[in-house]
Symmetry: C2
Subunit: 360 residues, 2 copies
């Protein structure tokens, strides 16, 4: 073992000349000037080395490189952003970051952007216009170069207004929704068609009395509901009937539970249920199990999202997968293409997939 390990040169310098010009302030965070002084060169050369640019003698470069490493130099991002006029930061807006499905999306977006040298900042925007505006102002302040809106909750006038006010000219990617503003690109999940085929699927398996349970009337939920109505209409000739139950509360699990109770009361012969999200379906399942209704023999259930929630249920939930992974990867690539000066597709549609498990 070495007795007297070499002390970082610039660190010592930092301690000695503690009140000179250029970055000898408090703390032990070094600036390129500290490094330059230690290497007996100018800050320009240090900068060139850091950024891997040519125009530095190889011997000098190696020396600077070593001092950078020895002293664990990390550039000041704020200074870089300021001079480069580019933050390489994008915002990922989520109404509630405790929503598992949306965080999964954020994860994919973030890792995709990361691979391309961008940082993704996850922001909890909340559900109201005020929180949204506040979040967008924050993102503007940070000079983000793009924003991803996660989920159709953001498809509304308030968002359009806030975007126009705080983030004009910046590319917006919307996962599962559309906004009528310039530079907005979107990935849409064909949930309406998906629910339509769910009805078809159930009808083909002999189900005739189908309930549909939905919660907050987000654009996505309204689309799905339409898909249900149209699906029922298409199956009417086969004697299929349908009813819609709404329960617009925060707790979807309880919402599904109580909606199902109502459905059983009003239509005891119901033999299938489609729920707008898995959590509603989990609640509905509980209501059925509580009444000792045989699932799927007597009543079939289908949820949406193909989330872990459905796999926790027992019997395990059949669910319509809206391909959040693919949607987000595509969304991230739309954004990257735009940032690189290209012209991404305005809107990409994703087919849904019915994942059959034990409740159908």
């Amino acid at each position: 073992m070495q007795r007297n390990p070499k002390k970082p040169i610039a660190y010592i310098i930092k301690l000695l000349y503690n009140n000179q010009k250029h970055g000898f302030g408090g703390g032990i965070l070094l600036t390129i000037y500290d490094i330059a002084k230690a290497a007996n060169v100018s800050a320009s050369s240090v900068s060139r080395v850091i950024n891997g640019k040519s125009g530095v003698n190889n011997a000098t470069r190696q020396k600077i490189l070593q001092i950078l490493k020895e002293n664990n130099y990390v550039p000041n991002e704020a200074a870089r952003i300021l001079v480069n006029q580019s933050s390489r930061l994008i915002g990922i807006l989520i109404a509630d970051i405790r929503n598992l499905h949306h965080m999964e999306g954020a994860y994919y977006i973030q890792s995709e952007m990361d691979k391309n040298g961008y940082n993704g900042m996850i922001i909890n925007a909340g559900y109201d216009a005020k929180g949204l505006a506040h979040a967008m102002e924050n993102l503007n302040q940070r000079r983000v170069e793009g924003v991803v809106l996660m989920g159709s909750v953001f498809q509304n006038r308030d968002t359009e207004k806030a975007v126009r006010q705080y983030l004009p000219e910046i590319p917006i990617i919307m996962i599962n929704g559309q906004l009528d503003i310039p530079n907005c690109y979107s990935v849409l999940s064909q949930e309406k068609e998906g629910i339509f085929t769910c009805v078809e699927f159930l009808a083909n398996h002999g189900r005739k009395q189908i309930a549909y349970i939905t919660n907050a009337p987000t654009p996505s939920n309204l689309l799905k509901q339409n898909g249900f109505s149209e699906g029922i209409a298409a199956q009417r000739k086969n004697g299929v009937r349908g009813w819609i139950y709404k329960d617009d509360r925060d707790d979807s699990l309880k919402g599904g539970y109580e909606a199902m109770q109502r459905a059983l009361l009003e239509h005891p012969d119901v033999d299938a249920v489609i729920c707008a999200v898995d959590l509603l379906a989990a609640g509905a399942l509980q209501a059925l199990l509580e009444k000792d209704v045989d699932v799927p023999r007597k009543v079939a259930i289908i949820g949406v999202d193909n989330s872990i929630y459905g796999q926790i249920c027992y019997p395990r939930l059949t669910s319509l997968d809206n391909q959040i992974f693919s949607s987000c990867v595509i969304g991230a690539h739309q954004l990257l293409e735009f940032l690189q000066g290209g012209h991404p597709a305005r809107c990409v549609s994703m087919q849904t997939v019915l994942v059959e498990r034990e409740t159908t």
Copy 2:
């Protein structure tokens, strides 16, 4: 309605003098110089108004205020960070942002910091040392003023090394874990004691053959496991026996399921199961239901975290609540106290609470 709404003054100026000194570059983002020019004052005065400082004539202040508002001015955060030598940013490190329990913690931390004028940046660090170091370098680059480590996965030498290397001097808050470095504060959940009392609880309800299912050997999981062992030891006099099952895979649901199957095979008389996390318990419950074992009559189950997962299960899961909400609020306040120059408690312990539902 007004016919000719006043065009924002500074915006027009921006368009006219598009290549002057000071901030007339591309885009339509205004600088204080733009505002200053529009108001016929100096940038100093604009800055003073923006920051609500005294030393500006009231008439001038009102004029500047109006122009700021009209033009939707938002300050450049990078420039502010640079000159103020303060980012008012903290990092929230999470191994996997798709982990619901940890994101819930992040949510509480973020909103608590938000109330106090700090921004919380959520970073997905991954489970390996390389990802961790990368995350910390990133946070250093952004000059964060504090870091919250979410969960005991970060209680290890790699983290200590990475902190020392990239974030020396910066306060670290660890939720449910401890680190042997300066300026590290922590909130510990007394999970060991909690599991101990779970064993006691089960024994008091006449359970004699208790299985314990655990997954990845994180410090928290090891503690809980010790709590189980000690609990069993304490109940041995009452004829209670216990067995530990480990299943160290990514998919906890499946892990719990298969561990339970093994337990049933090796010890058919098992009459209670404690699982290190709710998701394991959900899997274990499925294995029991599949074998038509009566829960809780024949076998009782207890999980840990009191998460939504447990409420999706049917019967609904009894779970040991480790008070993530309170832990995070306390952690955030430790951080805030430190940042305000105070001396927060080095370590706060949180009592756990057994939330009884239908599996006991």
